[in-house]
Symmetry: C2
Subunit: 328 residues, 2 copies
Amino acid sequence: MSSKIRVGIAGYGNLGRGVELALAQNQDMELVSVFTRRDPASVTLHNPCVPVYALNAIEQHRDSIDVLILCGGSKNDLPEQGPALARWFNTVDSFDTHARIPQYHAAVDEAAQAGGNTALIAVGWDPGLFSINRLYGECVLPVGETYTFWGKGLSQGHSDAIRRVAGVAGGVQYTLPIEAAVQRVRDGEQPVLSTREKHKRQCFVVLADGADADTVRQSIVTMPDYFADYDTEVHFIDADTLAREHSAMPHGGFVIRSGQSGSGTQQVVEYSLNLGSNPEFTSSVLVAYARAASRLNQQGQIGARTVFDVAPGLLSPKSPAELRKELL
Amino acid sequence: MSSKIRVGIAGYGNLGRGVELALAQNQDMELVSVFTRRDPASVTLHNPCVPVYALNAIEQHRDSIDVLILCGGSKNDLPEQGPALARWFNTVDSFDTHARIPQYHAAVDEAAQAGGNTALIAVGWDPGLFSINRLYGECVLPVGETYTFWGKGLSQGHSDAIRRVAGVAGGVQYTLPIEAAVQRVRDGEQPVLSTREKHKRQCFVVLADGADADTVRQSIVTMPDYFADYDTEVHFIDADTLAREHSAMPHGGFVIRSGQSGSGTQQVVEYSLNLGSNPEFTSSVLVAYARAASRLNQQGQIGARTVFDVAPGLLSPKSPAELRKELL
């Protein structure tokens, strides 16, 4: 019998691969199995000794897994998988459709309660670590404003939108915070900022054969919801450059709380991430919270929880006494 | 009967004044009394309606206070007051002698357990919010290095040290992070940095009548523990300039975790504070944690706890459902 926390992965895309790698950095956890909707024989893990199983028979593995990390997408996978799997397992997921969190929480909570499990939802960096910093900021400085800026980062949704434009053979989109706006916030000015003043969008596009650059540019920059409200740059590049220079998935951003303490004194708190790989970092956060999910379940905390419900110490393999001595 | 959290303050110096002001920013809490070792009649609060009592009869007020915020100093007051008061009250304190936290925790824990109280120790920004960020950083990126830089900030201990030098009539000392070192860390370099490479010290000194500037400068820059290991600037100013330009108590700093996620990708997390008033910000943190102390006690969490044991959501006046909807 192993004393390590036994972890399963449901879904083996970018996030699942990142979770496998992150688990290898945590000696108190071990990956015991991966579940996929694809043919298990077609899935190759970094560690070939870990078995891959079909997702549709996952309940059979209930007794061999302490925490299941859900690595599906928020749009199509998690709304169904989250509640279904929280019935059988302690789970951690990165559900990130902010507007639907209340209903997702309710569905997962019901399933987790029924199964006697603990389900940590919306774990990652936004929602996740950014949310925690928004919360700490407004609790410590109740008089003030909170600002969230994203980037420089590759946006999957906006990249997909570009690729659906007629005449586009390939492309990526980066979201960039506007430095002047960030600086005004850092300086304690508490400005009111429009969408256009906070972020700009930068597109790198490969044209399809015979496509007209100006027409494509116009289609992109005027696209409602995605680009029309922003200053958008469109750069045309060739397919080789796209593959060579734009295949990484960097991201990051800032949460800034600018407030006044009691006598009107200006106080500014800033949290920032500069991520070489967005999915790998999200995976690393999921793994730390898998440790917490296992402990919360042992404490009898049954149902759906978020990062707001997890005391920081539960994320660490160190004992409370070690944490007080080494990190406080 | 009030539904607000009833808070008392023990000790009315800079920190106690800050707590009074911070409480006024939090509508779910109210200041019910202040306790002092001085003659209570000599203490003037911002709000003259709040009664001031002698600290030595504080047990009599046990039933009227939900949480007592201890605003004494770590060196002389808290080692005695922390355990003594945790016997009678739920407490929050800003004990900040890092090396003595384990023994202080043990003493307060014993008293709080005996009294059935909850005592949050070492609350503030370092220890406190910085500690939380050191913890999150190493849990999320277990492979990496954590760096803490302080400043620009007024250091009370070093200012006191200057003022004890023969020939010094007055003075203040600022600790400054060395920008080049911060930048190397932000860039993901993970440098090994000596004490001298991380911070420098800047002194503004008023000479006593007839004192020799060079002698004073030498005494300061060679002082062991305080200045000898740093590059120290000494600027001589007059008493008016000292009073006019150096009476604020700014501080701040950075906690940076630079690490590699699973495939070796560089990831950098940074938390920074830019504080117009160090004691007022510490007070604001204490007040947010007073709310948590009250809730932890209601949950039956008896004994000494630290910021590592407090789930972020416990700091907020908002309900878990509101937090999920608005901040996640």
